[in-house]
Amino acid sequence: MVSKLRAGGEDKAVTGDAVQSGAAVGISPAALRGMHITMLRIRRFEERVAELLRDEIKCPTHLYTGQEAVAAGVCANLRDDDYVFSTHRSHGHYIAKGGDLKALMAELYGKATGCSRGRGGSMHLACLEKGLPGSSAIVGGTIPLAVGTALASSLRGVDTVSVAFFGDGAVNEGIWYESVNFAALKRLPVVFICENNLYSTHMPVSACLADTNIYRKAEAFCIPGVQVDGNDALAVYRAAELAVESARQSEGPTLIECLTYRWRGHVGPNFDLEKGLRNREELASWQARCPIETLERLLSEQDMLSVADRKRIYKDIEREIDEAIAFARQSPYPDQSELLANVFKV
């Protein structure tokens, strides 16, 4: 049941025969274009936030730059009523699930119009209409919550699927093992997406896990576990497609490990190079495998992205972000009288 998907044209079937070889075979043009736009929206949003972090945005912010293919490839398989739970590094998941950019930017500014009304900041994003009940800054904290929404779906007899995004770091927490086991035991409709970006704060994954092949842990719980190139949106898409489908068919959970890399440092706009935590060559080698460039190359080869298209998409996204920034700047702060509001629902 446990298998390894590799990048490039060598993808192998995970379970059954749904995965085909060859770059984009079996994925609709709409899905491909959608993933491209999502990834670009995330990238440009994060890069603009990196600039704003120098003096306008004050809350601790963990940027998603470099990991875009994971959020885009997974969420392209989800419906609005499917649940997504995220972490401290939550912008990419929020955007990929369809969250509003203005409300996101306003949240980073601590404004009343933010998606958490200024109470949460970057690490705590919610958008209920889009199936985002909230993200947690406690490592591993949302994994059982995704199992719980899956339990609710199962109890109610509806076919919504829950997705838990988490990092390699979260696999060090006991809650991870307890949650995956319980989901497997009850065959709940949940998909576990591990974004293995090779670091947990200042520590490389090899300094944390005795076995760094995270996907192999699935075997212990008798569920499918796969490892994919997390910088290849198509590979992520295909693996997620199977996992989401099997969850929807009540066939239980899947663990997908996406190998990727965060370009920026753990937190904030810097790169963690100056602190000696990782080296320039490593960063450069991952930047050379930019998930967006990879997809764009493929789209142009398939005549799905002309030079003019590309230019227009970039321009539209930039305008959308400009509007989000203007909205955030102009929005009011929460009223001081609201400090004690919302401790309880009344």
Binding site: C59, R119, M123, Y333
Partner: protein
């Protein structure tokens, strides 16, 4: 005695170094002990001097790592277990409370747990509800745990030494807002007794009781009150458990008025416990109801405008003091 001026963070660093040198059973374990930012500069250079066997940076596994420290302590080691944020300690609660705190009693006093749980408060900066918490009272509530909260570099060292030498689990709580505070720190190893507070400023009209960072705010408030003709005494508790009742009650008997400057939540927080002791044991001395300055009963908000309101400071203490004085 050789004295040096240093910051609170440097005092912790020096103490760890000296305790590691002095006692082979001491080791440091927890998240971020080799990180350039996780625990400020408190552990800078330790890995180079003592190596990864005794300076153990850990994966994010709070529960297991805490239990491992408890086990090592059962075997006679003296671990210093660091949690770089109190918010992350909920995962570790079972090992600290059910195991470390109960062990000595539960087996009739046969084997104790000489463990220092170094717990850091890291708040402000729009970090929101899961990156802001000050949980000292949760620990103070637990039988079998001692809780200390130094406010000066001198005490940061002396109480850390006392915690490491204590044969019981001691929760040593420091607030990163104190890390750059400077003060005189003797070079040699010394300890500050656990359970003993200290009077930081003598006064006759009003007692302000505080711990940790709130002592700094209390001293500022006392100065302001002095300018207004109110002579305020400031008591730094240093230990929340055991609590120096003698010092507290002595001061209240003298001044007849009390304001508690508290960095915890209002319900069941430090000020609630202290008010109860004073009501029980110094009722006759009180000339006015006790004033309480606390965090509101709400999680920490992110937005800077709400955050500013959330954390009380010297001004709030002054206002509470004026009210107590006016009521008598």
């Amino acid at each position: 005695m050789c004295m040096g001026k240093m910051t609170y963070a440097q005092a912790i660093n020096q103490t760890l170094r000296q305790m590691l040198e002095a006692d082979g059973s001491v080791f440091l374990m927890g998240q971020g002990v080799t990180s350039p930012w996780y625990v400020g500069t408190t552990t800078a250079g330790l890995i180079d001097s003592f190596g990864p066997e005794r300076i153990i940076d850990t994966p994010v596994s709070e529960n297991a790592v805490s239990g491992t420290a408890v086990g090592a302590a059962l075997a006679g080691m003296r671990p210093v277990l660091v949690h770089p944020r109190m918010d992350f300690m909920y995962y570790a609660m079972d090992q600290i409370v059910n195991h470390a705190a109960n062990w000595y009693y539960m087996f009739g006093g046969q084997v104790s747990v000489p463990l220092t749980v170094w717990a850091i408060i890291n708040r402000g900066g729009e970090q929101a509800a899961q990156h802001s918490q000050a949980l000292q009272m949760l620990f103070a509530h637990i039988p079998g745990l001692k809780v200390v909260m130094p406010s000066t570099p001198y005490d940061a060292k002396g109480l850390l030494v006392a915690a490491v030498r204590d044969d019981n689990p001691v929760v040593y709580v420091d607030d990163r807002w104190l890390y750059n505070v400077e003060g005189d720190v003797p070079e040699e190893i010394y300890s500050v007794p656990i359970g003993k507070g200290v009077m930081r400023r003598s006064g006759s009209d009003l007692t302000i009781v505080a711990a940790s960072y709130m002592v700094i705010e209390a001293m500022k408030a006392a100065e302001q009150l002095g300018r207004e003709g109110v002579s305020a005494e400031v008591i730094d508790l240093r230990s929340l458990k055991p609590l120096d009742e003698e010092l507290l009650l002595g001061s209240v008997h003298k001044t007849g008025r009390l304001v508690v400057a508290d960095g915890t939540w209002r319900t069941g927080g430090m000020s609630a416990g202290i008010s109860a002791i004073v009501a029980e044991k110094a009722f006759a001395s009180l000339k006015a109801p006790v004033g309480r300055v606390t965090l509101p009963d709400a999680p920490a908000p992110a937005s800077c405008v709400l955050e500013k309101l959330y954390y009380p400071g010297a001004e709030d203490i002054v206002m509470a003091a004026r009210k107590v004085v006016a009521a008598s």
